[in-house]
Symmetry: C2
Subunit: 237 residues, 2 copies
């Protein structure tokens, strides 16, 4: 092996890793893409957003299937590393750019990490299934697909949402954030769905009956990451 | 502060932490409970299984709601710490008992951890939604609820399952396990649903068209953890 060529390879590699910002593939308005963006904003990482043409089925084209064989967004690139699945990408970002100031997974603390994981799972299995149908029926389907709102689904979801929010209210009356008295990935995961609920449906007042949930949400929305992304996602003229 | 009393308190605490095995609350036959048990078996931890009387609505009683306000199983206890959500519990177990020999999350390696996370998410969003309805319709509903199998749902799920398994086949032809050439949490998460598919439905031959998937599953089922738990879950006389 010639030392010169090895050295050049290392330099090139270094240049590549240090200089090229990471790339996120997908439309910023997608809730799963927003999950990754809010993490990148929180850690202050430089990134490039590469749009995927959804109406043109860009997510089903070979170059995107090479990133994610299931043909979904977001995908992510960091040098030669390609990732998919928004929660996996988000955790990669939070680990890579972790600092003493910004540690949103708390993986070095057994109990804190478990609390982050619990409330990340609660968002997936309880919060999202109850609240996202309201966003779909009142905003996404009418706007993107020209479909009418199915009010029966909205009403059923509101009943479920209230049960979930009662449990959140009890929990947030004891802890400032979901995993404890620190902001974590578990809180951030609520951003996009809740933002659209508040911004684009007639149910922005839903949280009024849950003062601790409302205060928690307002606290989150005061964060620079969410203000910035929310401004780009807003549905209001 | 009296040194004597502090010392006694520390000893008691130590005794408590060292001697009391962790507790898992829930029926072992539940797929979400099995997710936790397989991790406990893999790391070789001592544990106590505390049954929750499902037909008697034990999961909705106050003592269980104090463990999990959403009234689901499993819940978990380690000393004074109470956890819920099976994936959060499983990760706690894998972190707590991590060793050089058994590291199923690989959180200290950015790329490996991302691969574990990606395929953990793929199990949640692709594999489970396609394959679990077959288990529900062919085994769980007829056995536990006396309901007939809805063959239309089974047939639709088989179509979805084949699309997912094609992607698994391509992936497992390049890597021995889902996250790479090492067993991880991502593989373990496939255990209970796949076990019931193979053991309790007419579709055990489904994997025959996917030789790498079949070899991967047989390799997993040769592990002592899965052999032991499978023996307790078997539906065959």
């Amino acid at each position: 092996p010639r030392p010169g060529s090895t050295c050049a390879a290392v330099s090139k590699h270094h240049f590549h890793k240090q200089m090229a910002p990471v790339k996120v593939f997908g439309p910023a308005a997608s809730t799963n893409v927003a999950r990754v963006l809010v993490c990148l904003e929180e850690v202050g990482a430089e990134y490039e957003l590469v749009d995927i043409d959804f109406p043109g089925k860009g997510h089903k084209r070979p170059e995107h299937l090479a990133r994610n064989p299931f043909g979904q967004v977001p995908a992510f690139q960091d040098g030669d590393l390609i990732l998919f699945e928004s929660r996996a990408i988000a955790k990669y970002v939070l680990r890579k750019y972790k600092s003493e100031q910004v540690d949103l997974l708390r993986e070095s603390n057994l109990e804190e990490a478990a609390m982050v994981d619990i409330w990340t799972e609660v968002e997936i299995h309880q919060y999202h299934p109850a609240l996202s149908p309201i966003v779909l029926e009142c905003f996404i389907y009418p706007t993107l697909r020209g479909l009418p709102t199915n009010q029966r689904i909205v009403d059923e979801s509101l009943v479920k949402a209230k049960k979930v929010l009662e449990i959140y209210e009890a929990h947030l009356s004891k802890h400032k954030y979901l995993a404890g008295d620190f902001v974590s990935f578990a809180d951030l995961n609520h951003f996009a769905c809740t933002f659209y609920l508040m911004d684009a449906t007639p149910y922005a007042s839903l949280f009024n009956s849950y003062p601790h949930v409302k205060a928690w949400w307002e606290d989150l929305m005061s964060r620079p990451s969410m203000k910035k992304l929310g401004a780009g996602m807003t549905t209001r003229v």
